[in-house]
Symmetry: C2
C-alpha cells in the first residue's frame, strides 16, 4: 500500500511535474464526485473511488452524499462550489488563526465578517465582538462561559467553588448543547432549568413559564444568570418569542443568549427575518453559516455584544505567541480570545461565498428552502397516509410528519397503534439506506412516537425531489 | 464584486463545463502556490493571487507561507501534498462525523487510527478510547474533563458546587492550555499548581517538587486529582520524566495525563521514542499529528485509557441524532463521545498520509527534523555572536538562542545589557517580516530576556536553510 512515488512529490527537487500529475488526477476524481453528487440519478450514499493510477493507489470511500438534492437528513447539506473552492485554498495555505503575523488577511476577513454579522443582528457599530469556532455547540459553550465571567469574573482564577449555585434556563426544544456545555463548564445539567413550550400550537418557549421558572428556581436556592432562547429549534424549527424573553431577562438582569445556529440564516431574507425580531436585544448570538447558508463544514460564529469580554474571559497572554513588543498593532492577535490555541481558518469560506453571492444571493437561497418546506407541508395535507406532527405552517424549513401504512390506518388510536407506528419510520429509513435513493431523519419526541423530520438547506432541491420523497416513502412503506 | 457566472455553476443543470473550468483555474493557481511556497527563492510571507479571469474575480491574499522551508515560526509547518489532497477530498465530501450513517468510512478510519495510536503509546489491546478534536488545547481540556468525571461522576449533573476544591498539577514550562482549560471547566487557574522544573539542566519537571507540591496543596485544603506531564514543552522541547511522575500519580491515586501534542511525533521514531518512556502508564494522552507529523491543520487526538469513559462523561443521547433503533450497530455513532455536535473529518488526512508514508516514513521525517535541530545547535556553538539559552543538546527540535550584535558584546552582564539585548530579537524579526526571507519566533521566559526559538517540523528544511537563517540574523542584526 506504500506509494513508491512519494519521495518524488514536492518538496522534492524537480517534483513539480509529478505533483501536478497527482493533483490533476485527484481533481478529476473530485470533479466527477461533485457532478455525481448533484445528479438525481445517483444514490444519496455514494462511492468515491480514489484511484490514482499513476501513483499505484486505490481506495473506495462509501459515505453519504450530503450534497445530493435528496439528502434531507441533517441541518447542513448541499455542496457549494465556491465554498468548496475556498476550502481547497485554505487547506493549501494551511495557516493558523492565532496571530496576525501568520494570517494577516484571514484575520482581517474574520473581523470584517463578524462586524457584518453583528450589524445584521442589529447591534450598533459601537458594540459587538466575536469569533469563529468549531461548531454551534462550542459557540453555545462560549456564550455560557462569557456570561458566567461577566457576572462573576473571579471564576476564572478561583473556580466555581466560590460562586453560588447558578441556574440556566432554556426551552425543552432547545439543542442539547446547552446541557452539554453546562456539564463541561462545571455547572451541572440539573441546574439547567427546562422551560415548557406551547405544545399545542407553536412549540415556542412560553414567556410566562420562563418567568415562573426563574422565580421557582430562586426559591430553591439557585441563582439564575443566563437564558438561552432558540431561533430555529432542531426538530421543529420553531422560533422562541425573543422580545418577550428579552423583557424578562431585562427585568431579572439575566444574560440573554440566542441560539440561532439553525435560524440565523433567516436574517439574510427580507421575507423571513421578522421571525427573529428581538435578536438585537441578545447579549450573545450563535449563528452557523454552515447550516442554512450552505458554507462547507465547519463555519460557526459566536457573537458577543459587549466588546472586550471574550478576550478578558479567555486571555492568558502566553508570551511565546502574544508578545506585546511585536512590530504591529497586537490587538489583531485575536488568538487569545479563543479557548483554542491553534484555530482553523473557517471565516474565508463564508467571505468568498458572500463576495460571490452577495447578501441577496443568500437571501434567495433561504427563501428557496422555505418555499420547499411550504410545498412539502401542502403536499402532506393532500396525500393519503401522511399526518403532520404539527398542524401550523412551518416557520423554518423543518417539516415533521408520520407515514401510516395501509395496515395501520383502520386501527383505533392507542398504545397498540403507537407501538406499531413507532417502528414504521426506522424500517423505512433502513430500506432507504439500503437503496440509497433518498436520506431523511426520524426521531421520537416526548410522548410522540418516531416521526420523520425533513429539513431543507440545500438550494438545489426542487419540488420534484419532494414529490419523489413522498412517493418513495409510500413505495418503501406501504407493505409495513 | 458579484460573480455574474454564479447561477451557471453546479448544481445548475448543464453546469458541468463551467464548474470544471472554474475548479481547473483554481487548481492551477493553487499548484503555482504550492510550487512557490516550496521554493527557497520565495518569501516566507507570500502573495496568493486568486484571479479567476474566466469568472471576473480577483483577490490577492498576503499571508505567511507555513510551507516554506525557511518558516521556523511555529510548531506546525510544512506543506504535505498527500495531506493537502486529503483535505481537498474531505471538503468536497463535506460530511460530518456525528453518526455512522452519514460517515461510515471516515468513522471506521478514525477508529483504526485511534487503535493504532493507542498501541504505539503502548496500551494493551483491551484498553484505550479516544477521539479527534479541533486542536491540542481542546484535547487537553478533554483530559481534565474526563479525569474530573472519573473521580466525581456526579459533577456532570450537579456541577462543581458539590465537589471539594480540586487541584491540578503541571510544570512551569507546560502549555497554557492547562490553565485555560481550568478556567473554562470552572476549576479556576489559581487551583493549577505550577511545579518547578530543573532550570539549570534539563527544563524538566522535578519529581520531588511535584510530590511536595501535592502534599502542600493538600495541607492548604486542595484535593489533588490530576497531573499533566509534558512530552515536548512548547518553548524548550523538554520531556518531563514520565516514569517518575507515573510513580507519584500511582502513589497518590491521581490521574496522569501526558500532553504530547508536540512530542508525540517522536513515538514514530525508533531513535527518539525512548524520550517518552513511561507514556504507556498515562491515563490519557494528547497527540497532535498536525505538528511533528506534518498533517494539515487541524488534526489532534485525545486518547483515554479507560474505555467508555469519554462516552459516559459526554453523552446526552439526543434522540434526533442517536436513535437506539437504527438499523446498524449504534456503537459506531461516536458523536456522543464528543463535546462538539457537528465535527469536521480530521482523521482522514492522517489516514491517507499513513498509507502513503508508512510508520517508517513518519519516523524518517521526525529524525530529519531532529537532525536539523542538532545541526543548528552545533552551528550556534561555532559561530560568533550566538549564545544558547540552554546548553544541553536539544531533545526535541526546539533550539533557543540569543544573537548579540557587536555593539553589545563588550558590555558587562547586568540589567543595562539585558534591556538592550531584550530589544534585539523583536527588531530582527520586524526586519525579517519586512524582507520576507525567513520567519522565526521569539519570546522572553521567566527572567530571560527575548530570545529566538527555532523549531523544525518541516522535513523540507535542509542544512543550507539553517546556514541561511544564521547568516540572515547577522545581516539584519549586526548594526543594532
Amino acid at each position: 500500500m506504500r506509494m513508491p512515488f512519494l519521495p518524488d512529490l514536492l518538496p522534492a527537487s524537480s517534483g513539480e511535474e509529478i505533483t501536478r500529475g497527482f493533483l490533476q488526477e485527484l481533481v478529476n476524481i473530485l470533479f466527477t464526485y461533485i457532478c455525481k453528487s448533484s445528479q438525481r440519478s445517483s444514490k444519496t450514499q455514494g462511492e468515491l473511488t480514489l484511484c490514482l493510477h499513476q501513483l499505484i493507489f486505490c481506495l473506495t470511500l462509501t459515505d453519504a452524499f450530503p450534497g445530493h438534492p435528496r439528502f434531507f437528513n441533517q441541518l447542513s447539506s448541499g455542496l457549494d462550489v465556491i465554498g468548496t473552492a475556498a476550502e481547497w485554498l485554505i487547506s493549501t495555505a494551511n495557516t493558523n488563526m492565532f496571530t496576525y503575523e501568520v494570517s494577516p488577511v484571514f484575520i482581517l476577513m474574520e473581523e470584517v465578517l463578524l462586524r457584518k454579522m453583528q450589524s445584521i443582528v442589529g447591534w450598533s457599530s459601537g458594540e459587538g465582538d466575536g469569533i469563529f469556532c468549531p461548531g454551534g455547540t462550542i459557540s453555545n459553550l462560549y456564550s455560557i462561559l462569557v456570561a458566567r465571567y461577566h457576572f462573576y469574573p473571579e471564576v476564572k482564577t478561583r473556580g466555581m467553588g466560590v460562586l453560588p449555585q447558578l441556574g440556566i434556563f432554556t426551552s425543552e426544544h432547545s439543542h442539547y448543547s446547552v446541557k452539554k456545555s453546562a456539564a463541561v463548564l462545571g455547572l451541572g445539567t440539573e441546574n439547567v432549568v427546562v422551560v415548557k413550550c406551547d405544545e399545542r400550537w407553536v412549540r415556542k418557549m412560553i414567556p410566562a413559564e420562563l418567568e415562573s421558572s426563574i422565580v421557582t428556581a430562586q426559591e430553591k436556592g439557585l441563582v439564575p444568570f443566563y437564558v438561552n432562547a432558540t431561533a430555529g429549534t432542531t426538530v421543529y424549527g420553531a422560533f422562541d418569542p425573543l422580545d418577550a424573553i428579552a423583557d424578562i431577562c431585562h427585568r431579572h438582569s439575566l444574560w440573554m443568549h440566542v441560539d440561532a445556529a439553525w435560524g440565523g440564516g433567516l436574517l439574510m431574507s427580507d421575507r423571513h427575518r421578522m421571525k427573529l425580531q428581538g435578536i438585537e436585544r441578545a447579549w450573545s448570538v450563535t449563528w452557523n453559516p454552515h447550516k442554512m447558508m450552505g458554507v462547507p463544514l465547519q463555519c460557526s460564529a459566536i457573537l458577543v455584544k459587549k466588546r472586550g469580554l471574550l478576550r478578558q474571559c479567555n486571555e492568558l497572554g502566553a508570551e511565546y505567541l502574544f508578545q506585546a513588543d511585536k512590530h504591529y498593532d497586537v490587538s489583531y492577535d485575536t488568538g487569545d480570545k479563543s479557548i483554542q490555541c491553534g484555530r482553523h481558518v473557517d471565516a474565508f469560506k463564508l467571505w468568498l461565498m458572500w463576495k460571490a453571492k452577495g447578501s441577496q444571493g443568500f437571501g434567495a437561497q433561504v427563501d428557496k428552502c422555505l418555499e420547499n418546506a411550504e410545498y412539502l407541508y401542502d403536499q402532506l395535507q393532500r396525500r393519503t397516509g401522511f399526518e403532520l406532527v404539527y398542524k401550523n405552517k412551518p416557520e423554518h424549513s423543518n417539516v415533521c410528519f408520520w407515514y401510516t401504512p395501509p395496515s395501520l390506518r383502520g386501527l383505533p388510536l392507542g398504545p397498540d397503534r403507537d407501538t406499531r407506528l413507532h417502528q414504521v419510520a426506522p424500517q423505512i429509513k433502513g430500506r432507504m439506506m439500503e437503496k440509497g435513493s433518498v436520506l431523511i431523519g426520524y426521531q421520537p419526541l416526548g410522548a410522540k412516537v418516531n416521526f420523520f423530520r425533513c429539513v431543507f438547506s440545500n438550494p438545489a432541491t426542487q419540488q420534484e425531489d419532494i414529490d419523489f420523497l413522498l412517493d418513495e416513502i409510500i413505495r418503501l412503506g406501504h407493505d409495513l
